[in-house]
């Protein structure tokens, strides 16, 4: 653990050095852009001359006669290009582990901790100018696990995002560094995104790291074209499966809609093709769909000729399959939203294959000893979703209003008839302190996805808004 901590610190140090190098490059680019701007101004004689007097006219004083405390900065003052946001989260989770799990008998395989304590420090720092943005989002995450893996404490220091964004022209932006490259309107999963299919759903409280990439975006009226090259998969994803992936994405924006097409040749040779579309109908309705076709890095299949200790084989990469999602959301007059989504994931098991998956695991359980590694494989390399057909229902409050925020949802596996109920709520107890809680309850047969390892989990925590 000590060597792991030193390794993390070395990575953090390298990251800081890289950030400094980026900052120097950015300063050089900014200085060059400033010089180009001054030359353009001297050459142009037709640009309209707009100026703003942000102070009051006549007897009116806009910044001091508003009701309540006047918080607007004094007229004439210049907004700072720096913004900082510092949050400290602390929360504890109690998990109810299924002792009779076929995949994790007696919790001997996964060693799922019964209790988790997490301290999560999140800083968002940004420098924004007319042509250049610098963003750094360092994270310090310490997790203490009890029961299952007794006494395991881990600490992660990393950059969730750290990038330079340069706008050489008003319609072009170049981004270099670690950046969140996420898109798609869906809540349950994102089939249109080859990197973020999960979209943080399996661990909703954890911050999702960006990808190490270079990208360029050009806007031409209603169309937005993005080209990117992903060098590394970022902090969160083991095995670096997204390395050396090129992406071409074309968005077309209408008055009430947007559609996007994505093509991404991946490092293992196969090409991801996908896209999404969403439309606003009237004031309250939102409809959307996502689709993606690809070969995944691997697929766990039942062995054709199983032996006592080998019940599965790994197909590398997987066969090509399509995932698709259709969704609809309705916003009530009070701002609450009702959402429903149907998902089909072709990379999941058909019903017979899922039964075989659990049957093989039960046979391995009976062997004990040498079968443990195979059971670990069954758990760790299972499909991203075990089955193929899912229904998701969500009801949530207006996120823009102050006070209490809540959401309640249900995810159902329509193939194996299991599901998960989820509740989440936040309450602002003070200007800088929010209490929150989350509850998940899994239900269904033991040989089904949602009830196969956990009965549920309860989390209670607090967020402190420092800056």
């Amino acid at each position: 653990m000590g060597s792991a901590l030193r390794s993390d610190r070395r990575r953090l140090g390298r990251g800081l050095l890289a950030a400094c190098a980026l900052a120097l490059l950015a300063w050089g680019a900014w200085a060059g852009a400033q010089a180009a701007d001054r030359a353009a101004e001297r050459a142009s004689s037709e640009r309209a001359d707009y100026a703003a007097a942000s102070g009051p006219v006549g007897d009116a004083d806009a910044s001091t006669d508003a009701p309540g405390t006047a918080r607007l900065p004094a007229a004439g003052s210049v907004a700072s290009p720096w913004t900082f946001n510092l949050q400290a989260w602390g929360y504890a989770t109690r998990q109810s582990v299924a002792g009779d799990s076929v995949l994790n008998p007696g919790n001997r395989i996964a060693g799922v901790p019964r209790d988790l304590g997490v301290a999560d420090l999140r800083l968002d720092a940004k420098y924004a100018s007319e042509r250049l943005d610098l963003v750094a989002r360092p994270r310090v995450l310490e997790q203490d696990a009890r029961g299952g893996v007794a006494g395991a404490t881990t600490r992660e220091d990393y950059f969730s995002q750290a990038y330079l964004r340069w706008r050489p022209q008003h319609a072009v932006a170049v981004t270099l560094g670690r950046d969140g490259f996420d898109w798609g309107p869906a809540n349950l999963r994102s089939p249109s995104n080859p990197f973020y299919f999960d979209a943080g759903r399996t661990n909703p409280l954890r911050d999702v790291s960006g990808l190490d990439l270079a990208r360029i975006t050009a806007v031409a009226g209603a169309d937005v074209l993005t080209g990117a090259y992903v060098l590394r998969s970022g902090h969160d994803v083991p095995g670096n499966p997204y390395r050396d992936t090129a992406v071409l994405k074309l968005d077309h924006r209408g008055e009430d809609s947007i559609a996007s097409l994505v093509v991404a040749p991946q490092h293992h040779g196969a090409i991801f093709v996908g896209g999404y579309a969403q439309a606003t109908i009237g004031e309250p309705w939102l409809v959307y769909a996502e689709v993606g076709s690809q070969r995944l890095p691997y697929a766990l299949l039942a062995a054709a000729t199983p032996t006592a200790s080998q019940q599965y084989v790994l197909e590398v990469p997987s066969a090509r399959a399509v995932a698709s999602l259709a969704g609809v959301a309705y916003t009530l007059e009070n701002g609450q939203t009702l959402t429903g989504e149907l998902l089909h994931d072709g990379h999941g098991y058909a019903q017979a294959a899922e039964r075989a998956y659990f049957d093989r695991a039960a046979q391995l359980d009976a062997l004990r000893g040498p079968a443990s590694a195979a059971l670990g494989e069954a758990l760790g390399q299972a499909p991203r979703l075990l089955s193929r057909h899912y229904l998701y229902l969500l009801w949530q409050s207006n996120p823009n209003l102050a006070g209490i925020y809540w959401r309640t949802g249900w995810t159902g596996n329509l193939d194996d008839h299991s599901g998960q109920i989820s509740l989440y709520g936040e309450y602002n107890v003070a200007e800088r302190v929010t209490l929150f809680g989350a509850l998940t309850v899994d239900h269904g047969p033991r040989r089904a996805e949602f009830a196969s390892v956990l009965h549920g989990a309860l989390t209670l925590g607090a967020k402190l808004f420092v800056l």
Binding site: N187, I281, G282
Partner: protein
């Protein structure tokens, strides 16, 4: 007695002048009035940034009221706002491109699409903090002239051009001498009054070589309750906004 030819000609000219429509009494152009009033609220400009302080009382807000400070960039029918206060909502951003909207905030995994029905805060909708382009979304008709305080106003009836516009009908009081909106009443398709707003113009911008008044405050009142939201606008800067600012892929 007969008149001389010269006197008859002079009388004919005077009669013609009396009967001819006077330029000052010609029907005002409702489209032009609306376009000019939009400019005093951010419309028709190449781009604009400003800070908006929103204070709400009554209605769904708690008894202490709520306060928000936002930094807004807007151009044409697009706007992006970032929450600066309160601190627990700091960093939240909302993007609006025509009628498609997204919200993101620290802790969210990715921008989420939201409906235009989502209110920003209190009685304020997203359109109240962004640049106003009523001339694009509404067909104006000059209804009448009316008094608005110590001034005279044209009253325009604005009818939504499309079904998906936020309000189906607006009554809009625009000052005759300044072409700035003084008051608005917002109606549903059934004719029910939803809310009303009053405007002040304590700011100024320079545009086309002239100094023009610009909105400094908007007070929005709910028609069915005591809920009120006051928007105060400051740090107005007219500048072209990079179009990449309105790309959801950069909403982070």
């Amino acid at each position: 007695m007969s008149l001389s030819l010269a006197r008859r000609a002079a009388l004919a000219v005077l009669a013609a002048a009396a009967l001819a429509p006077h330029p000052a009494s010609a029907e005002p152009d409702a489209d032009m009035i609306l376009a000019q009033s939009d400019r005093a609220r951010g419309g028709g400009l190449p781009g604009i940034t400003w800070d908006v302080q929103a204070d709400s009382t009554g209605g769904d807000e708690d008894k202490a009221g709520t306060h928000m400070l936002l930094r807004v960039s807007a151009a044409d029918n697009s706007s992006v706002s970032e929450t600066l206060e309160p601190v627990r909502q700091k960093g939240a951003r909302m993007l609006n491109v025509d009628r498609v909207m997204w919200l993101t905030r620290p802790g969210l995994k990715k921008p989420v699409p939201i409906s235009p029905r989502q209110r920003l805060t209190g009685q304020a909708a997203v359109g109240d903090i962004a640049a106003t382009n009523y001339v694009q979304d509404y067909a104006p008709r000059l209804d009448r002239a009316d008094a608005c305080g110590a001034r005279r106003c044209w009253v325009l009836e604005l009818t939504a051009k499309a079904k998906n516009t936020t309000y189906d009908r607006i009554l809009y009081w625009v000052t005759v001498d300044g072409n700035t909106a003084a008051r608005a009443e917002f109606y549903s398709v059934s004719g029910k009054l939803l809310k009303s707003a009053d405007f002040e113009y304590g700011n100024a911008i320079e545009f086309g070589g002239r100094k023009l008044p610009f909105v400094s405050r908007m007070v929005i009142r709910d028609a069915l309750s005591t809920a009120t939201t006051t928007l105060a606008y400051a740090h107005i800067k007219v500048q072209k906004i990079p179009s990449t600012e309105f790309d959801v892929g950069h909403l982070d």
